[in-house]
Symmetry: C2
Subunit: 378 residues, 2 copies
């Protein structure tokens, strides 16, 4: 197997500082965990690891939900899986759209054959609970209310507690995108009465991308159990996946889990809980405030009003006439620093600076401000 | 971030020898590649890696298909993605079922709303081309013929060349499961006229599970382009995914690719092509023949007739009255050796011994025979 002559060079990635919208910097302990030898997905030792991951995810979502697991795919897989499991054809869903990911919620729901009622807010603003309540009143047949807690495309943080409470009051299930919030912003799945949630690993958990933690409340599981038509996707059907991820020593094979990625997720969750979840939330806020002072001193203004800002994603408007892709290229070339461009209607108009997980530290804030100062002045 | 007191122990996997139905042993170079620092999914260096992976996958499938890429999920994701992209509601598909994975093809097709014509062969036998031709004649409205080249549940190898030629002759698209064959058995996508194919990384590519290489011929792409209804899954819709994986320097964000897993896939493909694809095919056959001699000397008989056997998956019938789970537990506990149990109707009746990728060597054959000899005699 060890042929003496390499026919192709190995890939050696450059060393970057990741301050875009994710992935964020990955701790060396997580990388080392992922490099451990692969074992089987039904190995008793691996079953033990799955139990540990499940418990750590429950602690991170602040839930006791039995159906809590990482979906074997990036955030978009977990996202679509949640919609696919909760929605049946012709179900009405209220989708709050205040950025790219709200739009993706709508697109996924439509493809699944649901009737979508859209509550629109301007990109760069939080979801307006009053509009949501109006939509709930006007659509009593609605089954699900879906919204993004942390809009990665704009850096707006919506009030998940209030929105989930509205869903409870009107008897619909709440479905929350917590891709960029999990680990970085306060989130209390059970205390707030959230029914379904999904996240990603490459944001504030600081794990490589490729897994999507999800959790379903007993109410959401009941909706899944009482479906009239099966979930259209075999791969995403939680009633099948849970035969593997569900409790107990007897696990049934569904698909082959991404073993080494799960080693990494475990270690990243251990790191998070070593620090303490609430400490992590506070750290994200603290460094965000420092970064915001520095960005404003550089003459860059935030897209989002101060009281609706997501600490871990800082979207700032660019000065007129700036060739932003050239400047981002210089940040990457001269400082090995990655920041994010605008998406959709904000392409070319904003930068998105991430302070997520391991990329949220004094060192990151200072490097970013120094590098931005340099490329903006020349 | 580096809190001094660990609150939870790190996970340290046991050292196993993986001779089940996958995952197989992963080369240390692949593990080391995966432990390199994460970079962004739109980093120019990463775009270069994507191009290299695409080219290596084309060489491995033996195709020049432009739509060739790893789907961001385990084999079952790539599998369902192929069905979801090719099938529209009420399309007729002929599915060959001679094991678990043919059954999964049927289940996925039904969930997608297709009309399924099943061609059944006994578990443990190859697909019978005569039955397939009868089905093609009897169902002129059929759009797709789907079959498993290498049935991992039984160890039967079907004649993909003949079956793909039948599909061509009757004007239907061929869709081939090459999860366990890719890298281990002869496979010529273009020369055989295969239209759509999917595989997994954790079998003969000897990479950790979590990615699913796929390829679509121009005919399959044309079917995708002329769909009347969109693919029901947003995540799996190749017309969206290819905006990211397609050629050119301008890649559009679709989902966040599993960066570190792709480092690993690249290195595993480099290893495969260092050895040479045809050498790898020959190596799988050579060690299979040695293992077969040894297993038969131990009194274990193959499930599959000799001329239909898949070298990399050796399914043998168990002696009556054997507590097979106890014996597999001893193999794991005393030898750190993992072999596979039977699935479905063969649960408790067969063992499945893998010789895949890095797990296909003289050392593996000898260890397996020695360990089996010991636990069977006591």
């Amino acid at each position: 197997m060890n042929a003496p002559t390499p026919v192709l060079p190995a890939f050696v990635p450059p060393r970057r500082v990741l301050m875009g919208p994710g992935p964020s910097d990955v701790h060396p302990r997580v990388l080392a965990a992922m490099a451990q030898a692969t074992i089987g997905h039904l190995d008793p030792a691996f079953i033990g690891l799955m139990d540990d991951i499940k418990r750590l995810l429950q602690q991170t979502f602040r839930t006791s939900n039995e159906l809590t697991m990482p979906v074997s795919g990036p955030g978009s897989t977990g996202m679509e899986a949640c919609f696919a499991n909760l929605l049946e054809p012709d179900d009405t869903i209220i989708v709050c759209e205040n950025g790219v990911f709200g739009g993706r919620m709508r697109a996924m729901s439509e493809r699944l054959g649901a009737k979508v009622v859209t509550v629109s807010d301007p990109w760069g603003r939080a979801v307006d609970p009053n509009k949501v309540e109006d939509a709930l009143k006007a659509n009593p047949e609605a089954k699900v209310l879906a919204f993004v807690q942390a809009e990665t495309s704009t850096g707006a943080l919506s009030d998940a507690k209030t929105l989930a409470a509205l869903a409870q009051r009107y008897g619909v299930l709440s479905l929350v995108d917590a891709v960029t919030s999990l680990g970085g912003s306060p989130l209390e799945m059970d205390a707030w009465g959230i029914d379904a949630i999904y996240s990603g690993t490459q944001k504030c958990l600081s794990c490589p991308p490729g897994l999507s933690p999800v959790s379903f409340s007993p109410r959401a599981v009941e909706k899944l159990r009482s479906r009239k038509v099966p979930v259209r996707s075999w791969f995403m059907d939680f009633s099948l996946v849970t035969a593997y991820w569900g409790g107990g020593a007897k696990r049934a094979y569904h698909h082959t889990a991404p073993i080494n990625a799960l080693y990494g997720l475990h270690e990243s969750l251990v790191l998070l809980h070593e620090e303490g979840l609430e400490h992590s939330w506070a750290r994200h806020r603290q460094h965000h405030l420092a970064l915001a002072r520095g960005l404003e001193a550089l003459g860059l203004s935030y897209l989002v009003p101060a009281d609706e800002r997501l600490p871990q994603l800082n979207a700032v408007r660019l000065p007129e006439g700036l060739q932003e892709d050239v400047l981002r290229g210089r940040l990457l070339g001269e400082y090995d620093l990655e920041i994010g461009a605008g998406l959709g209607e904000f392409a070319g108009k904003i930068w998105r600076i991430g302070l997520m997980g391991q990329s949220c530290s004094t060192r990151h804030v200072e490097l970013c401000l120094e590098a931005l100062g340099k490329v903006l002045q020349r």
